[in-house]
């Protein structure tokens, strides 16, 4: 960049009140808002550990391994969704892209007898190609992201059925199938993979200019363009990045299943969606974020898992996913309103000499 960042100081603007250099004091409401979801997760875990019916099966090693392993795939799909959502764009096709990568990897390895490396690479490339189509539709042709990706989601789901003729692909190399069930430092490898990818996404979103620009677009797309951000390019890239993460979820699914089932990828849509919305109520309240989404995933998973041990039937999972979705939207909207009215009170008490601003910030992330 050619510009310098030295500040030009207007000597005239004198009667400025010096800003209070102290960082905001400890605020209990704020902390509870941020930590509400993780705290609730801890409470649930403790409850199932203490309850005499669920304690034994809940804490058994196979259950813990399964929970962490299975949810890693869901969490990766959810993280894929977070990336364009930061810019205010829905990508509903991520679950189908995970399915596409799932079937592609299995097909290349089992049906076409290629090596594991080739299988993984082809799956990622095919997934990213699907992401490029999304980018073209949404950032290039400016179609509504929600509708366009709902379209590609359905289309890919149909294509997978056609390609596999509705049957499961089995017979991937044993070493690859075992990878997803093995442990590293006491935790399942898929969980480690999830953590690595989550850290990378968190880094990109929070600590690169790309991520900061993405958030600016999510806040006000028109203003983002007028501060020189190439909105189309960055939104397009977010869809491609999202597809890459979704494809890795698909490859992991291939390893977990030892093959591919055309219906299992697309089925991740709603659990991932619920977790992402729940995630927006915590850690960085009012914004879609990485760690909140991961807590959201495990909150729902632990609840379903624990209540199953307490005798709940299989319908419990739908009830929980649906309930979580509604609760998440309700909580973030209500918290947003509370934050807004707090901000308005502060404004009214500090400004004596000016009319109120046009509108207070909306705290539920805007979605295009």
């Amino acid at each position: 960049m050619s510009h310098s960042t030295t500040e030009r100081t207007p000597t005239g603007a004198a009667e400025a009140t010096a800003p209070d250099r102290r960082r905001p004091a400890f605020n209990l409401v704020d902390v509870l808002e941020r930590a509400g979801l993780p705290l609730f997760l801890v409470v649930l875990v403790v409850f199932f550990l203490v309850n005499s019916t669920s304690a034994e099966p809940f804490r058994s090693a196979p259950n813990v391994q399964n929970l962490l392993g299975n949810q890693s795939v869901t969490a990766l799909v959810a993280l894929a969704m977070v990336i364009p959502l930061v810019a205010g764009y829905f990508d509903l096709s991520v679950a189908a892209i995970a399915g596409l990568a799932n079937v592609t990897a299995a097909s290349v390895m089992a049906t076409h007898g290629q090596s594991v490396t080739v299988g993984i690479l082809v799956a990622l490339v095919v997934g990213v190609a699907a992401g490029c189509v999304n980018a073209l539709l949404v950032a290039g042709l400016k179609l509504n992201g929600f509708i366009a990706t709902l379209g590609t989601y359905t289309l890919l789901g149909g294509f997978l059925q056609y390609y596999t003729e509705g049957t499961t692909i089995l017979g991937v190399p044993q070493g690859f199938a075992d990878w997803g069930s093995l442990k590293f430092l006491g935790l399942p490898r898929p969980f480690w993979l999830l953590m690595v990818i989550a850290v990378v996404i968190w880094y990109v979103l929070m600590h690169t200019p790309f991520g900061r620009k993405l958030e600016a677009i999510g806040s006000n797309e028109g203003a983002a363009r007028l501060v020189g951000i190439s909105v189309d390019r960055i939104v397009g890239l977010s869809f491609i990045g999202s597809a890459l993460v979704a494809s890795s979820a698909g490859v992991l699914l291939t390893s977990r299943q030892g093959g591919a089932d055309p219906t299992s990828g697309p089925a991740y849509l709603f659990p991932a969606l619920a977790a992402v919305f729940l995630g927006a109520t915590a850690i960085r309240p009012g914004r879609y974020n990485v760690w909140g989404s991961i807590f959201g995933i495990f909150l729902i998973a632990v609840a379903i898992n624990g209540f199953t041990f307490l005798g709940a039937a299989s319908w419990v999972s739908s009830v929980f996913n649906g309930g979580a979705l509604v609760a998440a939207v309700a909580i973030s909207t209500l918290m947003g309103r509370a934050r807004e009215s707090r901000a308005r009170r502060v404004l009214m008490s500090t400004s004596r000499d000016e009319s109120p601003p046009g509108s207070a910030a909306s705290s539920v992330p805007p979605v295009t």
Partner: protein, 517 residues
């Protein structure tokens, strides 16, 4: 105030006012938006309301329709009712017979005339909620005849002219007033969006309405129209009523004088003549949006004002130079190089910045921290050793908050929690930290109080003194006359005059901008 309210020849002498406003004041968070306003609206009178931006026109209208409460102490009288000015609600306004047609009309273009009329009053329904279309058409036909609307009940509004759509909106607003019944019809800038040839037809229909005894409050920036149509004119300035005059006693320059008053804001007045540096900008036959054949050049160190009414092409001019609009024709050279920016980012890289007119929509990131808002323009420079340096962002932002006089507890508060003037200072700080060569400022003091206005122009002047060029668009001609070295007047997309030196007064700018051609 030099002008005292005086009662002019009444349009319908001897009758009681339909609606009367007494000692109406309104305070917003410490600012007086209205102060002791008294106005009578007489039956059958077309009463125009004039005043510049921020004069209190829209506040008065909003109190009349009950959207706002006034401060206590005043009254609104309608018929036999006296409503305390702090107790106005939409319901009391409606009972008092006040009806409003806003500039955007709020009609449904896809629906028919009958449906548009029925949507407000409720459909006539029969058994099982069935709409009685026959009844509905009959009612619509009556309205069409009363208001001379050139349509049938089944005509969709898309097939009507804008003037006729306005008439439908008026018919809808007055639907529950009987023939010749009192009440006050408020029309907010009804001709602003109309093509010239439709204005006459709308004005004729307003005259017919008034002749039948309807009293009308007419708000418009078009002074010729006001003088032509209105019986009396009330002028507001800085929330006070400057006076109510018979339109017949006024001419345009008299009206402009009333609107501007005689006070010039000395705080803004620039004493020293501009340093004329080398030529920086050369605009040659530019055509974009409403603009045609616009040519001018400007030097480093200048503050060039652009005067013009809304729709004169003033914003298009800035947006074209910023790469936000693509010109149809012509060229712009900046520092000798052609400015053919495809995207605002190219302009920014070349040292050009723009503060857009609509801050909320185009400049502010309301849900983001002040620090993000002020650093987004240089965000790359904070990416150090592969991480965003949030510490430096916060420290630099706090410094800028101090330097630009932003009133905020810290730079970590959300932008949306600041008042309009402080938000605007943040937007200025965002750009000026880049030390731009060309500043394009579109209404930089919109919604900003007087003190902050002076601050903002001091910041601008400081930039030009160090060799930049500023182009300022402002609707407030007093302000423009005070801060600019010279002003180009835009009318209907063309530069019609350049005003400098002792000619540079708000009066002159208003005359040139409002002139007919």
């Amino acid at each position: 105030m030099t002008h005292v309210a005086e009662n002019a020849a009444p349009a319908a002498a001897g009758t009681d006012p339909v609606v009367a406003v007494r000692s109406l004041s309104k305070t917003f968070a410490g600012t007086r938006a209205l102060q002791g306003v008294d106005i009578d609206f007489r039956p059958g009178e077309i009463h125009a309301l004039c005043g510049g931006n921020g004069s209190g026109k829209s506040t008065l209208i909003k109190i009349l329709c009950g959207v706002y409460h006034g401060d206590s102490g005043g009254e609104i009288r309608a018929g036999g009712d006296v409503i305390g000015s702090d107790r106005t609600t939409p319901a009391t306004a409606h009972r008092a017979g006040v009806r409003v047609v806003h500039q955007d009309l709020a009609v449904f273009p896809e629906l028919t005339v009958a449906e548009n009329l029925a949507l407000a009053s409720g459909f006539e329904t029969g058994v099982g909620g069935r709409i009685k279309w026959r009844e509905q058409r009959k009612l619509a036909q009556q309205a069409i005849e009363t208001f001379h609307i050139p349509a049938r009940p089944s005509t969709p509004l898309t097939e009507l002219s804008l003037a006729a759509r306005t008439e439908v909106a008026i018919a809808r607003a007055l639907r529950d007033h009987g023939e010749g019944h009192g009440g006050l019809l408020i029309l907010d800038e009804p001709t602003a969006a109309l093509p010239v040839h439709e204005v006459a037809s709308l004005l004729a229909s307003l005259r017919r309405l008034a002749a039948r005894g309807q009293s009308i409050l007419y708000v418009s920036h078009r002074l010729d129209e006001v003088l032509d149509l209105a019986d009396r004119v009330s002028v507001l300035k800085d929330g006070r009523l400057v006076g109510t005059r018979a339109a017949a006693d006024l001419d345009k320059s008299g009206l402009i004088e009333l609107m501007l008053g005689r006070t010039v804001d000395d705080a803004l007045r620039q004493e020293a003549p501009a340093v004329s540096g080398p030529e920086l900008l050369d605009v040659d036959n530019l055509a974009v949006g409403a603009l045609q054949d616009v040519s001018f050049s400007a030097r480093a160190g200048e503050v060039v004002g652009i005067a013009g009414l809304m729709g004169s092409g003033r914003s298009s001019l800035l947006r074209a130079m910023f790469g936000d609009l693509t010109p149809r024709a012509g060229s712009v050279r900046f520092e000798g190089r052609p400015m053919d920016f495809k995207h605002p980012k190219d302009a920014i890289a070349a040292g050009v910045i723009m503060v857009p007119e609509n801050r909320i929509r185009d400049a502010a990131f309301l849900d983001q921290a002040l620090s993000m808002n002020v650093s987004i323009s240089v965000i790359r420079s904070y990416w150090r050793r592969l991480f965003m340096s949030n510490g430096s962002i916060a420290a630099d932002s706090d410094d800028l908050v101090t330097a630009y006089g932003v009133k905020a507890p810290s730079s970590s508060v959300p932008m949306g929690s600041l008042s309009g003037g402080n938000q605007q200072k943040v937007v200025m700080a965002r750009w000026l930290r880049r030390e731009p060569r060309l500043l394009l400022l579109d209404e930089p003091t919109q919604g900003v109080d007087v003190g902050a206005r002076a601050d903002i122009y001091r910041i601008v002047r400081q930039a030009t003194e160090s060799g930049s060029l500023a182009i300022v668009v402002a609707s407030d001609f007093e302000e423009l006359a005070a801060v600019a070295d010279r002003v180009l007047v835009l009318r209907h997309g063309r530069i019609v005059a350049e005003v400098t030196g002792s000619d540079l007064t708000a009066q002159r700018l208003s005359e040139l901008s409002y002139a007919n051609d």
